[in-house]
Symmetry: C2
Subunit: 322 residues, 2 copies
């Protein structure tokens, strides 16, 4: 049921009028994969667009590449609707009508969980690929298109973001091999792309992070570290909650910390992001409060003031690290 990349290239070679669908809350892999493929298809003389329904995140603005549209009326005939880095209608909300226009439907993804609500004409799902961008790189080669500088930048962004800059366990030999090829593209400069993605944090976000990290609480001989992003802090630094991104990773960089917890207070509830380093079972701790996730990365929510949530959760986390 999984088609080969070569057979997908053969199918796509005969098609024109292609709409590409990255997932909602687009990230570097979703948008990078979509724009890379869009540019490659255009270089082969085809009409192709990336269909989106939300603004491109600021740190990914360079991946737009003139590919994105929010109105699909620009295409008269849609011969293919292709989902990228996701599958199922739930991942492309607000774009269902555009999606249905494709005479053929396809999906290229690296997420293991698959939705059954779309009947695809072809799929390529590779859970072992660190990024959908790795599949797209090979597809572009099989399509016979050139890896231009813009395409190289998109593929690099896809891989570096989904591998946490080559640090996550999903990184493979092939991730590095493909990136090695990108360096051979004239003008390619990974430093420039990394700086665009990673080095454009607001002053305010850094100040917020400093405030949270400067007042961590430690438990169980330093094996558990707990931070809090309160509404009061967000207001003080003029930040929104999405600017708290990355704080939990910083907590996990502390020597001896086996489990990290970051409470995020919103208007209605408190969400706890939980991370384990090696053995602390965060999924189990989160499950006690109706949350879930993976063993080393989980989360749960409380309809309680933050202090009450702490009283409930921290004893469970202390148990998890002991």
């Amino acid at each position: 049921m999984n088609d080969t990349i070569r057979s997908i290239a053969t199918i796509m070679s005969d098609l024109d009028g292609i709409l590409l669908f990255p997932h909602v809350n687009m990230d570097g892999d979703a948008l990078g994969s979509a724009s890379a493929l869009c540019l490659a298809l255009r270089s082969l003389g085809k009409k192709a667009y990336v269909m989106i329904s939300e603004p491109v995140p600021k740190n990914l603005d360079f991946l737009e590449c003139g590919c994105c549209i929010t109105d699909d009326s620009i295409l008269e005939d849609v011969q293919l609707s292709l989902q990228l880095d996701c599958n199922g209608l739930r991942r492309i909300p607000g774009r269902e009508t555009a999606w249905e226009r494709g005479r053929l439907k396809g999906c290229i993804d690296h997420h293991a969980t698959t939705s059954k609500d779309i009947r695809y004409d072809f799929t390529r799902i590779e859970p072992k690929s660190a990024a959908t961008g790795e599949i797209i790189y090979r597809l572009i080669k099989d399509l016979g298109a050139e890896i231009t500088l813009d395409i190289a930048n998109c593929i690099f962004a896809a891989i570096t973001t989904d591998t946490g800059n080559f640090q996550h366990t999903n990184t493979t030999s092939r991730s590095h091999e493909i990136v090695g090829h990108l360096y051979k593209v004239e003008g390619f400069n990974s430093k420039v792309i990394s700086a665009l993605i990673y080095d454009r944090r607001s002053k305010e976000a850094l100040m917020l992070e400093s405030a949270v990290l400067g007042s961590l609480d430690f438990y169980a001989d330093g094996k558990l570290a707990v931070g809090k992003v309160t509404q009061a802090l967000l207001e003080e630094y003029g930040c929104t909650m999405d600017e708290a991104e990355g704080i939990i990773q910083r907590i996990m960089s502390i020597d001896g910390v086996e489990a990290g917890c970051l409470f995020k207070e919103s208007a209605n509830n408190v969400r706890a992001s939980l991370r384990g380093r090696t053995y602390a079972n965060m999924e189990k701790a989160a499950a006690k409060f109706g949350g879930g996730g993976h063993v080393l990365a989980a989360g749960c929510s409380f309809n309680l003031p933050i202090e009450e949530a702490e009283k409930l959760l921290i004893p469970e986390l202390i148990e998890a690290v002991s």
Copy 2:
């Protein structure tokens, strides 16, 4: 004058009793390269040691691999003294006597500036290699030794640290290709090695960083950011100055910051670390106060109180970003 890796492998194949010399203030590339080669030589039945004269840094302790000695009397006959990731006697202080024991002298390095105070029997200097570990990887292959898990870990550490986790501009296609090969070694897990290197910062160091970042001064519409690590702060957080490592990189991650300056106050003087993002000439600014470096990374010192040093340096930096 630069020998081929193959010819060096041929020379080394006939030798036994080999002392390897990483540079003083050893880093991941120096120690990783030395231990990797030492293990490979031992696997070929040779006696080999890494000669050091300082403690192995805590975050690199896993690179020791039973290779390091501080007393070279363990070797009766030293047929080769080999410098790694450095050249010249100045880079191996306190080990000159051990160095002189080698009947042959060699050097494998990737630094472009070469010292003339040693007459080497062979050298391999590759300024275009991101890490000496890349040269050592190829040498080990040419020696016919197997890339074991320990060797893979050492080579990975060498490359990831010298490329700033594949983000610096020195990273090349070959850096990624070699790392891609390491992933094929049974049991290799880059995440584990990255965590050992990067995720063992002390609580105190993180608190210090938060305090410094939380009180940055901005000038020139936010294009210049200035931080201070004072003796008072070090005392307050119980840190030494080496724990301020990394703060300047954090400053440079702020959106709109074109130049960053971190004042480091010691008992005798004040040192300013300077970084530029794209155009701000830090070398020129540093040179005005007797310092130096590269265009985008430089430094200078002042025998003045920190406030006086600021008064002198900041106007120059404002000019550099304007």
